[in-house]
């Protein structure tokens, strides 16, 4: 049983984490898989400006899985849950016919009629994104080439231990800054297309303005394609009415203006002053080979 703060409504999010689709046991430590599983759900709540208050985990495991794997998976998940003071309140377990299957349910709350929706963007709004993009996809690219990245915390932490932007989402809601918001779980181009579709608008992005993640030993910026289409960065993508002042950072997280909302319902990518091309939503295919 969960008590809701008075004057609040309930947010519920569900997210699968499936072996072979969202993670691989030879690429990800169990702690990272547990962390990422919960981060997906917390990030959904963050994108509505909500406060998470309980987690439910459904977990189906192959019969021959070592107990140590489950213990480490759970430790990774609980470490994140405790940091956000969200109790693991229940769930379901089953024997999996094949592979590890997790479904995470996060229940959150938000003051009534105050949740930030995907549908609030209007022509003329400016588009912002938190943090940097493409870092998670860059890690997958490296692992596809044969690198083993998951052994220790590294410059690829945005992939292995993404930090959901819960505090930032709430701050944007409380200050009334975000007119629409979504998290970048599927990749900027795809998530922006969802936001545009639900708002009945289009968008124009400035290629040079998109904050690219810096990865590897050389801390080099990722290719623009990874920043545009790579998923699982769990940053917040939001729109702001013209004239509103947006700080450079909130709670230490950089906020970057990357484009504007247009009346015409297409997505364009502007490079320099004269080059404009269609931006096609191009969902990151996770681990598909």
């Amino acid at each position: 049983m969960l008590r809701l703060p008075p004057g609040h409504e309930i947010l519920v999010t569900t997210d699968f984490s499936l072996e072979g689709l969202h993670f691989r046991r030879d690429w990800h430590r169990p702690e990272s898989i547990g962390h990422r599983c919960l981060a997906r759900g917390l990030s959904d709540i963050a994108a509505m400006g909500g406060q998470p208050f309980a987690v439910f985990l459904s977990l189906a495991l192959p019969s021959r899985l070592a107990q140590a794997w489950v213990r480490r998976f759970t430790a990774g998940l609980l470490e994140l849950a405790e940091r956000y003071r969200v109790p693991l309140a229940g769930g379901d377990t089953a024997q999996s016919p094949s592979g590890i299957l997790a479904d995470i349910v996060v229940v959150g709350s938000v003051p009534k009629r105050r949740a930030v929706l995907r549908s609030g963007a209007r022509p003329g709004d400016r588009i912002f994104v938190s943090g940097e993009l493409g870092g998670s996809a860059a890690a997958i690219l490296e692992m596809k080439k044969g690198s083993r990245l998951g052994v220790e915390r590294s410059s690829y932490d945005r992939h292995f231990f993404p930090e959901p932007r819960v505090g930032l989402g709430q701050a944007l809601r409380k200050r009334g800054l975000a007119s629409a918001m979504i998290d970048t779980s599927d990749g900027l181009s795809t998530d922006l297309s969802h936001l545009c579709e639900e708002s009945g608008v289009g968008a124009e992005l400035f290629a040079h303005g998109i904050p690219r993640a810096h990865v590897g030993k050389g801390k080099l910026p990722v290719h623009l394609d990874l920043a545009l289409h790579g998923g699982e960065d769990y940053e917040l993508l939001f729109t702001v009415r013209p004239g509103r002042v947006v700080p450079k950072r909130i709670a230490g997280i950089p906020l970057t203006e990357i484009g504007r909302i247009t009346r015409r319902q297409t997505m364009l990518l502007r490079s320099g002053d004269t080059t404009v091309q269609r931006l096609v939503p191009h969902g990151w295919q996770h681990f598909r080979r």
Copy 2:
């Protein structure tokens, strides 16, 4: 966003329905799989005396699955959802690495501090069960022998289209009749052991009193073992303080007294006046071959 009735608290249940574990495509029509998927969740809410008010479905599907299968699955699920006036409020979809995977989340409500728990049974309480037991397991047994039962609605409906006891659960809560309650999803012996464990008590069942399902053309009662251990009947198993009068039926559903709660923390099965044996929880292994 969901609004909770004032003075209520939230109930959240999650239940997997996994191909090969909870259903088989060659045994179950898509409509039946969708119906059973939701019935599992509604039954959990029923067992707490709650009112379901929203459903979230996470569904992972193999890439080669026919669109018609999904349409029929959804139709089966929605038919049940509409009957209980529970909107499908969201969820997640993914491509499954293997087999159909569904996770159903049902959000319900109950007046504050009024949920019926598993932990409320006391020595001397009488044990009741709704409906009949073993019908679902009997259907699986027939299908294991090679019978095709799923083609039309039949005497095996308790397997293919189980009716969650939502109204009954609420009636038992409102009348203050049930001191503890659980649904028979894993089978009487297993679910009773959960109730006993959480209440810190034991139980004694009367073998002759257990209502056995009548199945097949001859409408013959199932074997006692199926009624004791067969799961997925989704009846309500509850305890009642001594001296309280329990009607023979509530909302048309028969209620049968099948035993009593004991102080000694073991489960016994009494047959006739003199024979007593240990009742070992013996979970139904669903479809394992």
